[in-house]
Symmetry: C3
Subunit: 265 residues, 3 copies
């Protein structure tokens, strides 16, 4: 797998996939800039009157419920349904899963349209599995360190989705294989929307890369390595965010492979 990853990164840069984003207000700017930096073309569009057109135009869609409301949830369901119908890949980022019954209700409905990839942190993935009550015994019953992986496997099986758990170590699983990524740096957690940027980049890669596990691994390692390199030039989280975008744009193959930390189990 490792030897393919840089090829995928170059493929995104040269092909410029069109990525349709329905994401939260907080991160739209960063997300769009991260997509541009890796060579993709972002479209941000959420109107019920056009969202299906945008899904059809794009190579992939990203649905991120960070600042969800009733209107956006309807538009997101419409987009997810369109993506499923047209066979377009789409990413679900269940921001704040478990924080309110409203979020969990909408997430259950979104799951019905079988996201290609679900990307969340450990607590979101666990809450998501629990929201789908019939398919899990609930997070309380799981052992601390493995509970998110168990939840991911439940989700992967039930929805045929590839699951990416982001954290100090990122874990990608599709039930047949599991990839562990040890790139990134703790300072990235002090920048808002880093996880949302990850989801957007995943959208770019699954839009044009056949092997979806490799696509997600390319996106996550690219972001993590850009973050590690950015931190060397940074005095805090704002300069990290700036240098990270610059690095997404200018990263070399040599730097990438020097820092890559990926293993399988």
């Amino acid at each position: 797998m490792e030897k393919h990853l840089w090829k995928h990164i170059q493929h995104v840069k040269s092909k410029g996939p069109l990525v349709h984003n329905m994401t939260n207000y907080v991160v739209m700017n960063n997300t769009a800039n991260a997509l541009l930096a890796v060579g993709a073309s972002p479209i941000m569009a959420h109107a019920k009157s056009e969202v299906s057109d945008m899904v059809a135009l794009a190579d992939a869609s990203v649905i991120n419920i960070g600042t969800l409301d009733e209107y956006w949830s309807e538009a997101m369901l419409l987009a997810a349904e369109t993506a499923q119908t047209l066979g377009k890949p789409w990413v679900l980022d269940p921001v704040g899963a478990g924080a309110s019954p409203f979020r969990d209700k909408i997430l259950r409905k979104l799951l019905d349209f079988n996201p290609t990839v679900i990307k969340g942190n450990a607590s979101e993935i666990m809450a998501l599995a629990q929201a789908n009550q019939e398919t899990t015994k609930g997070v309380d019953s799981m052992a601390e360190s493995n509970e998110a992986i168990d939840a991911a496997n439940v989700l992967a099986k039930t929805h045929g989705a590839l699951i990416c758990i982001s954290g100090a170590e990122d874990i990608i699983t599709d039930t047949t294989q599991t990839v562990h990524i040890a790139n990134g740096t703790p300072l990235m957690t002090k920048v808002t929307g880093m996880g949302c940027t990850a989801s957007a980049l995943i959208g770019a890669f699954i839009g044009i890369v056949e092997d979806k596990v490799e696509a997600v691994a390319a996106a996550m390692t690219l972001l993590g390595i850009a973050g590690q390199l950015a931190e060397k030039q940074s005095e805090g989280p704002a300069s990290l965010q700036l240098h990270l975008i610059d690095k997404l744009y200018a990263l070399s193959e040599k730097e990438y492979y020097h820092y890559l930390k990926l293993s399988r189990s």
Copy 2:
């Protein structure tokens, strides 16, 4: 008071208060990053279907009407009512008070839910006092330099709120005491949403600091001093914004007390 302020700043950093923000589209990213930089955890959520859940989850809420509309105003009223009912501290930032009858109408309704802190610039505080027509003679009748303080005292008495007037000098008053802060730098006025960042930081501090005057003073001095230090590294407003977030993250006690300019009357 001075000797407690750094303790409060450390308390926010170690405790990580959860701050629920209903703020304007322009500043959401900066606001979230400023909260993360000082150690707080931001939640941005505005849906009528979940806003009460978020108020209940959070240590404090911040309501900023910068890009108000009919939907958001209803959700904000619901959040403010919930905060009052649950006894949760909340900050009102009356952005653009006086600019339209719509804003003033919503602000009057929000005031009924007794914000813990009202933070605005002089003209907003005056417009807010005037919008509450029964309680003030109107801004026209006030003398230029003291009019905002008079308006603040009217608001403080009528609503039991602590008022923070931001400007070249920041003034904090709860009718029993007045604190003057001479930190900050004029270049901060060339960065959009600096006042909104102030309100968000106030939210973080009143969420976990008992003495509300000290909480607001800690937030305002921290921001002002970070701005002064940031300016030294800056060539204009964009680099100021970047270095300011980095400084909020990395400011030392020594730097803080070297720059602190606070007096009482």
Copy 3:
């Protein structure tokens, strides 16, 4: 014309026009910061309940349909109608024209309120002319390199608007004269919302400069030159965005005229 341009830039800096923006979520922060950097005062407001008040208060309005939806489209039509009625200058930025029937329908309605300036890239200007089906033969029939200019002339004639086509070369036309600007740098296309910043700056300049062609030329050259200078200090698109705002704030007359590349035909 050239000798007037710096005078207009200084005029904006000293006079501080109030610019009302109804723009997309992605760029609101950048747009507001760019306006502040050149000395203008941004207001971001979109509520149907107050948008007419804001148009009336402001020196100019900017309507940018980047993240359009049904509510915003109604509010934008109300703002455009108010601007026309009050004789206030306004800018239309038809982001994504041609990408969906919804966008094209709203754009046709907005055109009825005769924008003072329409600013778009070549494909948006062509799509906009085509959306107005009765007035053009459609983009397919036009020759590659001149098709956008032909479309611009159709729009200029039909709506009495000044058209600005942004691109590697910016073209400004009001049917009686055409101005070509060769400032800017390709890296600017890797920063989201650069075109939206252009539209916002045009709003600032047409708000207080009589000669609208000169106003648009001043805005576009200022942005392009700031971008060129910023690039010299940049390692990628994020540092370009930062230095560009700093340069908008701090650009000197000498730098401006050293880089200015403008011609007429």
